[in-house]
Subunit: 219 residues, 2 copies
């Protein structure tokens, strides 16, 4: 599997033992994350915009309205940084200093380009829909020509990427273990409640299996 | 309450009816979000790093090790974009095109500066600790001189900020309501499980009330 280069841009300086440059560590984080935060810079001014994504092999797909600033900028080939973060728990140490979080994050560097054909755009939109809700593409009404025309699909070939992971219990200074302070982890995850039917739902239509059993795959 | 200016940098072009520039809309999102994503640019290359934050009035506090690239860069006064995103649900329309998410996001623009004094640094570290876990600062061992010295606290006065909110059911094209496709919302939230005791927990110490009853305030 792909091992990404560790350059000045992507090398983890802080706590390097938490870092990984292997697709085998990075891609499951990208795939589990519901959303990402896309960073771009215009004349030195950074912007960070949340959006949804999908991974297609070693490429990320983004989409949006043609009028969107993010999409226009991404389509122009500017450098992007795309970050996915999963929070797995609050780590409460005996000292404030050693408080931490359990998390898995992926940071991806690349440049955007417009989908080169209607087929590539179609594949990207399908991948994004299926990233959020596997099974949905085949079930819903698929895009018509007018909708396809109103939408940009941007593909970002992954040039460099890193994963950073922290898990496990707090790590306190040895002398602090004697303190009468509770320490441990409060586990955190994304939870989904029961589906809420649209008020105009047609008679006899109930939520499909893929909605009823929805969850985001974890390690 | 503060109403932030809407300039070319912060004005929402896409679906402006979802945007707000009022602190009364923006600050609850900042406060509920456990983490933020900080964007900065070095020679045109964007970086997006997840971290925790706290709001102190009209100022954001960040912290980290002095060796961190983010912290060094933020301390130097470079422009930052700091984004908080809360995902409230997956919105499944009858057409792929009208799929959406219910979310609340805040985008903050400002420049970082180092805490000007030990008192200001102490206040920032306390605010960040209490942002993540109210009640924890008074309970845990507070920072000593060596720990204070190893940590940067960065303050970002909020120059501009916007909130963007989507909620409610899917909005389908009128002719699509007749389709035999389930539509509705799958509500999403951050969930916390039962606290997990550290294996070296002292005898007779149990999780405090503020951990047992932890949740992130919602509107």
């Amino acid at each position: 599997m792909t091992h990404f280069p560790s350059t000045g841009r992507s090398r983890m300086r802080r706590i390097p033992q938490r870092a990984s440059y292997d697709a085998g560590s990075i891609y499951p984080i990208i795939d589990e994350a519901l959303i990402c935060h896309v960073g771009f810079a215009i004349d030195g001014q950074p912007f960070v915009i949340p959006t949804i994504h999908a991974r297609m092999g070693d490429t990320l797909a983004l989409h949006g309205a043609k009028a969107s600033r993010l999409l226009k900028h991404a389509a122009a080939g500017a450098p992007l940084c795309i970050t996915m973060t999963l929070v797995d728990g609050l780590v409460l140490a005996r000292s404030v200093f050693h408080h931490s979080m359990n998390y898995r994050s992926a940071v991806v560097f690349g440049r955007g380009r417009l989908a080169a054909s209607d087929e590539e755009k179609w594949a990207a939109l399908k991948a994004i829909t299926e990233h959020v809700m596997p099974g949905r593409w085949a079930d819903a009404r698929q895009p018509n020509a007018q909708e396809m025309n109103a939408t940009h699909a941007i593909l970002v070939d992954i040039e460099e990427a890193t994963a950073k992971v922290r898990n496990g219990p707090p790590s306190d200074d040895e002398e602090d273990y004697a303190l009468p302070v509770w320490a441990g982890v409060l586990p955190s995850s994304v939870a989904f409640a029961r589906p809420v039917n649209d008020q105009r739902l047609g008679e006899g239509i109930s939520a499909p299996e893929y909605v009823e059993t929805y969850w985001r795959a974890r390690r």
